[in-house]
Amino acid sequence: MKRKLETSELIFKILSYTLLLIFSLACLYPFLYAISASVSGRTAVDYNQVILFPKDVQFNAFGRMFNDNMFWNSYSNTLFLTFYGTVWSLFISILGAYALSKKRLLFRRFFNFFLVFTMLFSAGIVPQYLNYLDTKSVFNAIGITDDKWLVVIAMGMAAMNIILLRNAFEGVPSEIEEAAIVDGATEFQVLRKVYLPMCGSTIATVALFFAISRWNGYFWARQMISNSNEHPLQVFIRLKLEEYTDSEAMAGWNEVYASDSVIYALIVCSIVPILVIYPFIQKYFAKGTNVGGVKE
């Protein structure tokens, strides 16, 4: 059934299309500009002749990055932190959320409060830093001298993600679990064979939340990892940017690329992996925010 649009509806529709188009372009533009500026020639970048499309294309700024050992080091460190960090956080969250989702757990309210309170009150960065120093000495004493492992173990736990998982587990019908128990499944088997497959998409969502926050982690990685060979990519980018703002000279006078292009090339290197997998994972992110409602 086609219905003639009223004037107010028509105006609203046109307005929506226009503003959404502007907003989407504004969201995309900085990335497109970064890509163009990273591959444009020196004078084109220095004199702002690059508006949207690259000019005097060169790839030497990227070449310079790729020849830098520290760059590859930081990239592999980020992959290390992302992989082990996600596995560790997910492992702990799934076990904890499973236990919390069970009505028969004693002191359930207390454990929930224990979790939720960390969302209400945080000690702040200075006490956290002091605490990391203490735990670092404990870790060193038991033989873990690699700061990366401390970052993996200590960082990135989020009460919100555990609550998302707990709500998903609570949604699984108890009859299925009872059937499995009658068939002689143990608690761990029930978790592995019943709950994990049934809550697959929530687990994927939470895993992606963890992975993104690990990939993007900056502040604590910089504070806690003292060896510059172990810095992740985000810290590397920031240090390069600080070097750039201090001296404004990243490129020698005889190079074909501008100093800015080096920074843009780094930014592009950091966002390309996310851009590549983004179309496949974005539906999980959209799902994650809809699982609302914190209950106690």
């Binding site: 900085p30 702002n48 702040g124 200075v126 605490n131």
Partner: protein, 350 residues
């Protein structure tokens, strides 16, 4: 509960001897029984408790132990000694911060004000944006076009703070002899919104622009992603509601007012509570990466104040005291926002 011998025995004056207290026997039995029950349940479900242990340990070590370190704000800072052995100094740090009369106290109040203002403006301008976006998304009938817009608008959310701030820094950078100013500064000055000299000096070096840059980049970053939850609420509205409104002669604005808004009100309230709760919890990472000495006037927030004095400087006790005040007020805010929302509309977070 401490149990005294006299709880079990009462003096019976008629018989002239002690006898057992019947009430206490019952109470005792209940308690014993209860605890026996607890033991049995834990042994029966021991696997559940084992599963809980790693999570509890991680939260204990890296969320609750820092709260113990927070006690350092009542002690004289001494890096060598653990908190327990430091000298108690009472509220001297709080006094220095609040009524010190020194430059430090002024700096702290400035940080408090900036924290509040940055969040408040964020709430004022940033909060309605996702709702408006969701309303617009709802207008687009073609699924392909709409999801393209949506996917593009979520994209900035997945960039790290470092990448985002680096981009912002580059786009509004100052001009120099060898290279021009950032492309956004260039654009703003060419359309006459800001003067050439101001733009050329670098917008991030100018305290007047810090809040605008912070807010606009914040909206750019998260408005699209935050609209998901509102959009989900809007598409859940039954089409019959719109039809009924149309038959009653409602135009677009009336439909918004009487159909859409009431349907998404509970979502709005929940999101508002969350936002008010984090009113004093500005993203310190972003401020830390964007501010510099020139912009302390408008940019310095409590966390960056604490970072400067506690981590870069050596005044850990003072910095802890500043953060403690900030976080306690923040916690009170979220609890009261939640209570008010529960009283007023039956919607609450906790």
């Amino acid at each position: 509960m401490a149990v005294k011998a006299t709880d079990f025995l009462i003096w019976d004056a008629a018989e002239g001897a002690y006898r057992e207290n019947p009430e206490q026997i019952v109470r005792d039995d209940v308690e014993k029984h209860h605890w026996r029950h607890v033991g049995e349940t834990i042994i029966k479900d021991w696997r559940l408790y084992v599963m809980l242990i790693p999570m509890l340990l991680v939260f204990l070590f890296w969320r609750y132990l820092p709260m113990y370190e927070l006690l350092g704000c009542f002690k004289v800072s001494d890096e060598v000694k653990p908190v327990a052995e430091q000298y108690f100094s009472g509220f001297s740090y709080f006094k220095t911060l609040l009524v010190g009369g020194t430059g430090l106290s002024g700096e702290f109040w400035r940080a408090m004000r900036n924290t509040f203002l940055l969040s408040f403006y964020g709430l004022l301008f940033g909060f309605p944006m996702p709702i408006i976006l969701a309303l617009f998304f709802n207008e687009i009938r073609s699924n392909i076009v709409r999801s393209t817009f949506q996917v593009v608008s979520y994209l900035p959310k997945f960039m790290s703070t470092v990448v985002m701030t680096s981009l912002v820094t580059m786009l509004v950078k100052q001009g120099s002899l060898t290279s021009g100013m950032g492309i956004i500064s260039q654009f703003l000055s060419s359309i006459g919104l800001i003067s050439y000299d101001v733009a050329n000096a670098g917008l991030l070096n100018n305290p007047n622009f810090f809040r605008a840059i912070y807010l606009i980049s914040g909206i750019w970053e998260s408005a699209g992603y935050d609209s998901i939850v509102y959009f989900a609420a809007i598409i859940a509205i039954s089409p019959t509601s719109y039809e009924a409104a149309q038959i009653d002669g409602a135009g677009k604005m009336s439909q918004m007012r009487y159909v859409v808004l009431p349907s998404i009100l509970s979502t709005i309230v929940i999101m508002l509570i969350t936002r008010i709760g984090s009113l004093l919890n500005v993203g310190y990472e972003k401020v830390l990466l964007l501010y510099n000495q020139n912009t302390y006037v408008t940019a310095d927030v409590v966390s960056t104040f604490a970072n400067r004095y506690g981590l870069e400087g050596a005044n850990k006790g003072l910095a802890s005291a500043a953060e403690m005040m900030n976080n306690v007020i923040g916690m009170l805010l979220v609890i009261s926002a939640n209570t008010i929302a529960r009283k007023a509309s039956d919607v609450s977070l906790y």
